[in-house]
Structure formats: structure tokens, C-alpha cells
Subunit: 687 residues, 2 copies
């Protein structure tokens, strides 16, 4: 997929020109580097057509072995690694892939070039989304429809929707290779900015994005646009009075200052160290996460690279205006591009620090994304461990260690939805991923004003008069390149199985009246098909272990995956087009051998993808995954039945999973955590 | 079960003698009332035998209708309701049940008396646990064994274990009716107070609790006691140095003071109001939880009464010393009695307020349990709702409402385990229950020092030399008497089912290339068997709805149950004795018609219970549950495979479920929450 490597020599890597310290090998491309990439591409004879639109520019990270050497070599000079960009650009109706060396930003060099001939297209640029959304205003049949629907064209806003793939090219039945997308429109007025609550139901336009022209149009049915009243969510329009629930304001104060130390994009906190990257497509990337083992006196590897690879959101209405609503937010829009500034004091608490990022416009120029990541210590009143011993003579023993965690947060506003992504690091060694959903539902206009009127399937919930919140799913897939205490790991499925008490000690039984118990059977995954797990099946614990490393008593060191709800799998039929594109969504867990190019669960080109380049397609090779550098793919899944509380803006719903050390440490790593200096008469924790 | 009502007239209820305000009808019995109850029982000719041991004394709450009238009658004088106690006492080898009226504490009256003739016994008193634990020191065969095991009797501590029920009476094969329990012993020295880590494996004693004498003894095998080193968890013994993970201290400051208003045991906070009760058996009880609906301008009922009904913990080792380890902590010990003082600043944050409680000793005298409940506003940096709208012309719109919640916390130290129980109230209308497990594992001594030596099933994980953490389950069952906007509710199972696109609008299809989608099928539970659900089965949403109340657009008002992991069900075979006693553990969800006597999921007499009086037994009547006052029973279930990190004290593992309004409100109840006065340049939330 990364195509033909041209006979261009690598630029030497010793000539980084910068007034600031040299970047970390996994730092996102800086504005200087992005500018250099753009210049190199524009200057290259390999892409003669104009205009050139930059759909993706991201770090082409150095080889993993080199990065690991850089990060964990304890002595000697760290090697200087090349700085390279991977670019996907459209020009002359073709998709170009380029690798550009920017080790020397004043002499950036195109290393390779390839024209993509397979299925699918890169993400929409913001510029073309804007340009396309303006086309209807100059399209007479649309203007006529707007009048027919009784609307003022000045109140109508349109948005670009991917057409999906339904057996041909461009979302049609014909196997064309055009970049066809759809436009649908909404009413907004001063009374309400909630466009999703006020769809102009029945109208769909088809746009050819390369020609930037409307090539299809349908005004199928007139449905009343829901009223504006009650749909807005801005404080200035809904109140005063603010008679909703009132809580006392509260602020976390850290009397001895912060415990977070940030050096460039390296974060050090408590026993953790990791790098915070960023990408146009995947947003925040956590890399090189390692945990200090106080007993062993050394840092130990946990996660080489973790990020959200895709958010797949299929809607469950087969109607003309809805059947193609099968979004792949990362691949079709870019969730990095959709990561917008966080609000200090409300998106993140007062003790948060913020980080910026950069992506590129269609013209290839860097775009600053300010405050898109925040990092804060979370004081949620939790307990790390405790015990009260009341059974011994003498004073009661009570030992409690309060829990503080570190959160790295990004908010992705993927159109109507807002996803709050937290990477939460725990002193116990866990990484907890939290995804919280808020924002606005996609709503469908209907003539119904009361559920008693409804006779057939409306494919959603009547939320308000003339307003249906359409059923849909969310499948959020994490790429988790775990390296548990080293790169070579195995994936274990430890099944929990009922046993009958045989009475025979040789088979684990005993001569007692107990009839049954359970035990654990260890299954090592040999090949990819062994690593594909539906976690809603028979009980099992799923671990990444390092078969080359054991504890003193001989347990393999490991981390285990702990799902915690939100384990829905796709209910679409296997032959349905959206399901073919996201065929990995029938199992929450997949394990693959590490392959640098396998980052995007929906493939490099998710827009109009056909499923020929996704996680399930790669895994059909059924490669060996035992004692190898392996990657965990985990999908958080939710079936979303809307309720009236989700209107006009949704209260947050959160889902989590945890990666937890499991025989990784010799013992509870918090046993030697300093106790709080509590002044309680019952506290035996004074020292 | 509550037996013969004697011909004693109810004391008049207008003569409450108290210098403090009259108690709330659901307030736990006060020390004055408990003392009066004791006097009345001791003075009663109905229980002539001596001594009388009080195993349970709790509030016999007024009839639900009366309590509801008291709580929700908006005008006129609140009725004064009787104050009554329910007592279970042992005397003369019999289990006595008494109801005592203490409306006039200076003239308490026994209202009814019954002798229990069925299976099972009340919980162990603390006094008899202490007395029994001392018996081995005067039992020569035990002293001889201690020598044979190479131990110093001064280092040995014994504890009382329920013998369970295995087909007869008293945990033996004989159908006796003796209160037989078991004693097992542990080594503690100055070097380590971690008794669970140092079992004297192989020795089991049987004690007759009524005779308070050892009636059985077995010293089956000598196994090395694990060494003390590395087992202690007290700060004073493990450090300094405290070289574990160090975090910056942090304190929540509330510049405008607390938002919590406590009046007696009524807590008012934000849009919530509820009563915090307490019981010897179930610990904290949340009652009369209602939420203010700002749009409707009124308080609306949500939860009449919620509490932890049982914690069932079966171990998975069939051996002689382990097969009967099938604990029912509430029924056998009392988790209220096991609720110990919380540590300010570590068990609960600095902004917490504390509440006391009372239970009774075996002599019936009140015992103060100080600081056993804390209430605090939780500032965890979460977001209640947000949206950034970037698709409209003009400045970007960002509206964010930070989330603050209210936590009511209790910690139950059930012997080795510490359960942190949180009731978390959310402004969105949710009640989230969180159970966090910490404390000490039950460990088994073994001759193994390395996993390579192990050939057969050890029924656990080798955690350290000579130490196996034994496999076990936790089943924590909540009694949740939801009254969604009134007492009469129905239970809905809304199944999520795949549909094939027929192309026919009459059946919900459409003439589009989409082949499949899902829809929701509503199933109203008619009878109890319809309300027994394994939540790991086919996807469905489970709701309590009020069929008599709809929103303006006609949706039934409801609350839904959202499990979030920890949905394990029991793997024991149906014919196994522990499973018969806890036969409800194969489904997480049960729904029963309200019945005041059905509080205890393992029956009123859990100790040596046989399963004839538990949730499953009651539900065999298969009563109607449609449009009735119904109760939800939800069991949080975990299979616990120990890992080395759980040694010598376990880092907290948390599990949650949520009761969330679902078409209960007309819209998002937080839409009119006051926005934060943020000073961000990107914030459009100033007003």
C-alpha cells in the first residue's frame, strides 16, 4: 500500500536544523516540518497536476526497533532518527501517496511516490466540505425544493455526508470510481443553532467532490421541519432562569504543586512515563508508556503505541435519506482534525495543563489546534487499597491509601457527536481508557407528534413532536500495541470452566460433599483466528503475557484486558455493505502481529472502502501471533436507543476498559506508597 | 415468617417521648429505642430462657403506603407513624422472632413472638465469634497439633467460619439442628498482622455455638506456614523507604461552601433528596430517593428503598479445609456490623461529612458505629454534557457543563475483604452504584515455591512461596425497590433484533441497497419468570416504566438498568449445596412484586440455609409483576482469579451499574443548569 519506493537516497539524519531541542522521534510534525513537507510535494515532478489537495499529512514514524532503542537505551548517545512524513494528496483525479524526508527541514526530499489504484478514498478535507456545502445554494432544483418545503433558503445549512459503499463506486450501483458524496440540509435560525434537531427531511443531493459539482438530486417527500423551540442548548438562549440542578463549585488545590512533569511531549507522573503524540486521523496517540517498578528498580515497557483507530457509527434506518449513514469518523473526516479546543475549567479541571497540536489544511499549510489535549491529576475520592483488621487483639488496624490518577483528555467533535477520550494512568499500573459520549443526536423529521400515531417501525424514538432520534451503534476501535516488559508477547485466553468434584485428588477433586467448582484453563493463541474473541461469550480472562519473563515464583508477566460494559457487537448481516467495510465489529478483540502499516482498522482509505483492506482482511492471513510482537485491537461497542433525556443535547454516557498488570509486578506495587498523614484518631497510618 | 401476632394492642403512636425532633419513619432505631427494645424483650414472659442473645435488632419499618404518605403528602400534618423493632434472639436453643413497639420508648411493648422452626440460623454475634475463637486454646488435641506443626500457640489466632449447608444440619451429613460452625487458624507475629497470608493449613475444628464447645476436630495434613516477610501491609512495617509511586497531594476546595444539606438523616443535594438509613445486616440503606424535575416543578419518586441484600462469596477449592468456604456476609455476619469507621482524608475526601450508626451487641445493648457513612460531593473532572458546533458560519459554539456528583459511601470489612460501597447520585437523574473490592485475599498454604513444581489443579494462583490465592466469586446482590414516578411499575425487556431490509415500507423496509438494520421489540414482563434475565445474553435494554405516566409525546416514563461489567453468573452446578442456597446467582436480574418481608435474598436465616427461603424460592410462585409495585434485584458478579498484584493487600477493583432516567424527563434535565463562568476566550458559555 505504501507503494513504489523511488531511488532517492535517504537524507542524512545528522543535519536537523532547529533552534529548539531536537524533536522526539514520535513527536508530531512541527509547523516548520509541515511547511517543508508541503514545499517538497509541490516542488516534486511526481505530482504534476494542479491543484494538489492534501488529505492527510502525518508522521511516518521511524522503525519500531529504532524508536525502542532511542527510548530505552540506557547508556551512550541516543541515535538521531530520521524525520519523515507520510502524505496522501489528491491531484488530477488521482490519490497520491508520498513519503517525504524532513530530517533537514530546509531540504525536504520526497522519498517515495505511489498512485493508489485500489478501492476507497482519503478523508474529506475541511475545504471541500465547506465548498460542497455551498453548492446547493446555486442549484435551482434545490432552491425550488426549499420553497416547496415552505422554508427560507437563508435558514438552510447543508453538510457533507459520506455516501458509504453499496456494491459499486460512489455509493451508487455503478462501479464508477468517482468521489461521490451526499449533501443533506438543516434549518438553523437565531432561535436555535441545533441543526441536527431540524433536518430538511426528504432531500438528498449527490456531489462529485473532484468536480465539485452536484451530480444527483432527490426531493422525495415533504416532512414538517421540527419547531425551533426547545432545541437550542446555548446558555444564552435557554436561560435565565437557570433552574436546573445547582451544585456547589469546587476546585482541586494542590498545596505542594503539580505532580506532572512535561518535557516536550514526554509526560512523567508518579510511576508512569509516556509520550503524547497527535495525528490528523487518530487524534491523541500515547506512545512508549512505561511504568517504574520500585521493587525491580527499573522502568518496564507496557504500551508502545495506543490510539483510537476508528469510530464506526451505522444508523439503523434503511430509508433513502438514512441507509448510507454509516460513518467512519476517523477515516472519512479525521478525528484529529475534529479535536477542538478544550474549555479550561469545564472540559478539564482547573489543575489541568494543555497541549497544542497541528494538522494541515487542504493547501498543505499547518493549522494550529490550540488546547486540544489536557493533562490533569484526578482527585475523585477513590481508594487505591485499604484494609481494616478487626479480628486481632489490640487496637483495630486500618490502612488506607487514597487513589490519584493522571488523565490525558481529548474531545472529538465528530459533527453532531462529542466524544471525550480519556487515557487514565493509575499508580497500580493500569491504563484505563474512558470514552464518554455527548453532543447531539442525529434526528429524523417525522409527521408524528405522539407515539399513539405510530403504526410501523420508525427506526428510532419519538423524542419531541416531529422528531425521531434514530437508532444507531457506536464502535470505537483502539489500536493497542502492548509490549509487556518487551516486544515479544503471547495472547492468553484463560477460560473459566465448571468442574465436577470427582473426589479424586489426582484430578483436582476431594472427598468432600462439595459437588462443583471452577478452574482456569490456559489457552495460548497460536494464530490470529485464536485471538478473535467475543467477550460476551463464555467467561475468560484475556492477557498479553511475555513468555520470556516470569516472576520469581514462575508466573509469566502480563497485562490483562478488563472490559466494563459497552461490549456490543454489530448486528448487521455479514453480507450487508457497511458490515463488509467494518467486518471486524463482530468481535471486540483481535490480535495481530505488529505491522507498521496496519494502523487503520478500516484501512488506509476508509471513504467508500469495500472491506478489502481492513483488520479482518489482514487477519485472513491467519499469521502466527505466539511469542511475537503483537497488537491488541479492542472495540468498545454501544447500541444506542435514544431517550428523551438525549434531547436537545445528550448527557454524557461513559464506557471504559482497563489494561491491568497481572503477575506483572511481584506484588502490589502500591504497598510502599507513602501513607497519608491523616489526623484521624482511628488511623494507624501515621509514620 | 413473621409469625404469630399476639393479641397485644398497638401502642398509641402519639406519645413519642424524645427530647430531639421526632424520628423519620425510616430512621434506624436510636440508642434510646434499642435500649427500650432490649428491656421489653428481657421483660417478656414469652422468652423465659436465659441467656438471651440478640442476633438481630432492626427497624421494622411502617407499611410502605404510610411511609409514602408521610414523605410525599404535600399538605396537612404528616401522620405520626409507629416505631417498631424486629428482633431475632436465641435462647434455650431456639430462634425467637419478636416485634416490639417502641413508639413510646419508656413503655416498649412486645407485639408478636414466634419461634422459628425452619432451616437456617441468624447471623453470628460478635461475642460468640470471640468466644468460639478462644476455645482451641483449651482444647488439648489442638495444642498438640500446633506443636506438631512446629508453631508457638501464642502466635496462633483462630476465626469462626460458617459451615455452610451440605445436605444435613450443621454442615454435616446428619440432619441435626445444631448451630455448628468451624474454626480455622492463622499465624500472626509482630512481623506481620496479615493473618490471611499465613494460614495453619490442614486443621479444622467444629464448634457447637449454643454449647460453645468444640465437637469436632481434624488435623489432616501439615503444610508449611508461609513466611511473614513480605506479607504485612502496615506503613510502619513496610517502610520507610516509601519508594512506591508518589503523587501530589490534592484537596477539593468549595469556595462557596458545601452543596449538601443534611437534616437528620435526610440528605438534600442539587436535584436529589433521599434518606440514609442503616441496618445491622445490610449496612447503609437509601430510601425515598426522589429527584426534582425543574420542568414539571415537582419532586418525583425514583427509589423507595435500596440496599445491599447479600454478598455471596463461594471459593473454588473442594478440599476438606476449603469446600465450605461459601460465605454469605450479610446473612452470616451482618455487613452493617462489619461497617467500620471511615478514615477522613483517605477513605473519604476532605470535603466529606460523616454519619454515625448504631447496632447491638449480643446482650442487646446499643453499640455506636462512628463515622461509618460519609457523604461528599465528587469533583472528578467529568463532563455532564457538551457540544462544540463547528459547522455553522460565525464563531464556533462550545457549551460545556462540568459534572459534580454526590457520593454516599460505606466500607464493609467483611473479615479479609474490604468492600467500598458507593451510592452516587448524578444531576442527570442517575443513581450509580459502585462496589470496589480491596482488602486481603483468602490464601492457602502449599508446599510449592515455584509454578514449575505444580502438576495438579491448585485451585488458585501461586502468589508467593508457599502461598496460593484461591479462586473465588463475589456476588453482591442489591435490593432496589424502584418506584418510578409512583409505586406501580412494569418491567420492560426491550430486545434489540436484527432485521432484513424487505424493501417494503409496511414492514419497516425501504427500497435502498441497505440489507439489514436492527430494531427494538418491547416485551412487558407479565410474571416473575419473565423478569429473570441473564444480561450477558442477547442484547436488550431493561427498564422499569410507569405504565400510568407518559411524557407529552406519549413515552412511558422509565428508568433503565445499565450493567457495566462484573456480570458474572455462578458456575456451580445447580445440585451443589452452595448453589441451592444462592440459586438466584445464575441470573443477574430478578423482578418480584413488593413484599415487605422479602428483603434478604438468601432468606431471613442465611446461616446454614437450605435454599427454601431465598429469592428463587419466592419467585417460584411466579407472581404477576405487570403494573404492580415491583422490586428489582440486581447481582454484581465477579470471578476472581488472583494475581500477584493482589498480594499482600489488594489494589481496588471497581464495578458499577447505573439506574438512569429513560423517557423519565421530557428532555435533558441539565439543559437549564447554570453554565460555568469560564474565562476562556473560546468559551461561549458566559452569560
Amino acid at each position: 500500500m505504501f507503494g513504489l519506493v523511488l531511488g532517492v537516497l535517504f537524507a542524512t539524519t545528522a543535519t536537523v536544523v532547529s533552534s529548539s531541542p531536537p524533536p522526539h522521534p514520535l513527536d508530531p510534525l512541527s509547523p516548520v516540518e509541515l511547511t517543508a513537507v508541503r514545499s517538497a510535494v509541490l516542488a516534486s515532478p511526481l505530482v504534476p497536476d494542479r491543484p494538489i489537495n492534501f488529505h492527510y499529512v502525518g508522521l511516518d514514524e521511524p522503525d519500531k526497533g529504532d524508536v525502542l532503542s532511542h527510548a530505552y537505551s540506557s547508556h551512550g548517545r541516543q541515535p538521531t532518527l530520521p524525520r519523515r512524513a507520510f502524505v496522501v494528496a489528491r491531484a488530477g483525479g488521482q490519490t497520491h501517496e508520498l513519503r517525504v524526508d524532513v530530517s533537514n527541514a530546509s531540504a525536504a526530499t520526497v522519498l517515495s511516490h505511489n498512485v493508489h489504484h485500489g478501492a476507497g478514498f482519503p478523508r474529506f478535507t475541511v475545504d471541500e466540505q465547506v465548498a460542497a456545502a455551498l453548492l446547493p445554494y446555486k442549484y435551482p432544483p434545490f432552491l425550488e425544493s426549499v420553497r416547496r418545503h415552505g422554508l427560507d433558503v437563508g435558514d438552510v445549512t447543508c453538510g457533507l455526508f459520506p455516501s458509504g459503499w453499496f456494491g459499486g463506486g460512489g455509493g451508487t450501483a455503478k462501479p464508477t470510481r468517482a468521489r461521490l458524496a451526499k449533501l443533506q440540509c438543516f434549518v438553523t435560525t437565531a432561535a436555535s443553532v441545533n441543526l441536527d434537531a431540524r433536518p430538511v427531511e426528504g432531500i438528498t443531493l449527490v456531489v462529485d467532490l473532484d468536480k465539485m459539482a452536484i451530480v444527483g438530486y432527490k426531493d422525495r417527500v415533504v416532512v414538517p421541519v421540527p419547531q425551533a423551540e426547545g432545541t437550542d442548548y446555548r446558555a444564552e438562549t435557554v436561560g435565565p432562569p437557570f433552574n436546573g440542578p445547582a451544585v456547589a463549585p469546587g476546585v482541586v488545590v494542590q498545596p505542594h504543586g503539580t505532580g506532572v512533569h512535561i518535557d516536550g511531549r514526554i509526560v512523567r507522573w508518579a510511576n508512569w512515563e509516556f509520550h503524547v503524540g497527535f495525528d490528523m486521523r487518530s487524534s491523541t496517540i500515547i506512545s512508549l508508556a512505561s511504568v517504574h517498578d520500585a521493587d525491580a528498580g527499573r522502568r518496564r515497557q507496557v504500551l508502545y503505541r495506543g490510539f483510537v483507530s476508528e469510530i464506526f457509527v451505522p444508523y439503523m434506518d434503511p430509508e433513502e435519506e438514512w441507509y448510507f449513514h454509516t460513518f467512519m469518523d476517523a477515516g472519512e473526516y479525521g478525528i484529529g482534525v475534529s479535536s477542538l479546543p478544550l474549555q479550561p475549567g469545564s472540559d478539564c479541571p482547573a489543575n489541568a495543563v494543555f497541549m497544542d497540536a497541528y494538522h494541515t489544511g487542504a493547501d498543505g499549510k499547518p493549522v494550529k489546534a490550540k488546547n486540544v489535549i489536557c493533562v490533569f491529576e484526578r482527585y475523585a475520592g477513590e481508594v487505591a487499597w485499604r484494609h481494616t483488621e478487626a479480628t486481632l487483639p489490640g487496637p483495630m488496624i486500618t490502612e488506607v491509601r487514597p487513589d490519584v490518577t493522571l488523565v490525558v483528555r481529548t474531545v472529538v467533535s465528530a459533527g453532531n457527536y462529542d466524544y471525550i477520550f480519556d487515557w487514565e494512568f493509575k499508580t497500580v499500573g493500569s491504563i484505563k481508557c474512558v470514552v464518554s459520549l455527548s453532543g447531539i443526536l442525529e434526528m429524523k423529521a417525522t409527521s408524528y407528534t405522539h407515539v399513539d400515531q405510530i403504526k410501523e417501525d420508525t427506526h428510532g424514538t419519538l423524542l419531541a413532536a416531529n422528531t425521531v432520534g434514530v437508532y444507531h451503534d457506536h464502535f470505537i476501535t483502539y489500536h493497542l500495541d502492548l509490549d509487556v516488559d518487551g516486544t515479544n508477547n503471547s495472547f492468553l485466553k484463560n477460560t473459566i470452566n465448571r468442574m465436577r468434584n470427582t473426589g479424586n485428588p489426582a484430578t483436582g477433586g476431594a472427598n468432600t460433599p462439595r459437588k462443583s467448582y471452577w478452574t482456569v484453563n490456559r489457552e495460548v493463541a497460536e494464530r490470529e483466528e485464536d485471538g478473535q474473541i467475543n467477550v460476551n461469550g463464555a467467561p475468560a480472562e484475556l492477557l498479553f503475557v511475555n513468555p520470556g519473563k516470569t516472576t520469581k515464583v514462575g508466573n509469566e508477566v502480563g497485562y490483562r484486558l478488563i472490559p466494563a460494559g459497552a461490549t456490543a457487537t454489530s448486528l448487521l448481516s455479514d453480507d450487508d455493505y457497511p458490515q463488509r467495510r467494518a467486518s471486524y465489529t463482530k468481535k471486540q478483540v483481535w490480535v495481530t502481529p505488529y505491522n507498521k502499516s496496519e494502523k487503520w482498522v478500516t484501512g488506509l482509505y476508509a471513504e467508500q472502502s469495500t472491506g478489502d483492506d481492513n483488520l479482518a482482511a489482514w487477519s485472513r492471513k491467519n499469521r502466527s501471533i505466539k511469542d511475537k510482537d503483537i497488537v491488541l485491537w479492542y472495540t468498545v461497542g454501544l447500541h444506542h436507543i435514544p431517550y428523551q433525556e438525549d434531547f436537545p443535547v445528550m448527557p454524557t454516557v461513559s464506557s471504559t476498559f482497563e489494561l491491568r498488570p497481572s503477575n506483572f509486578f511481584e506484588r502490589n506495587p502500591l504497598i510502599r506508597m507513602r501513607p497519608p498523614n491523616a489526623n484521624s484518631p482511628n488511623c494507624s497510618c501515621h509514620v
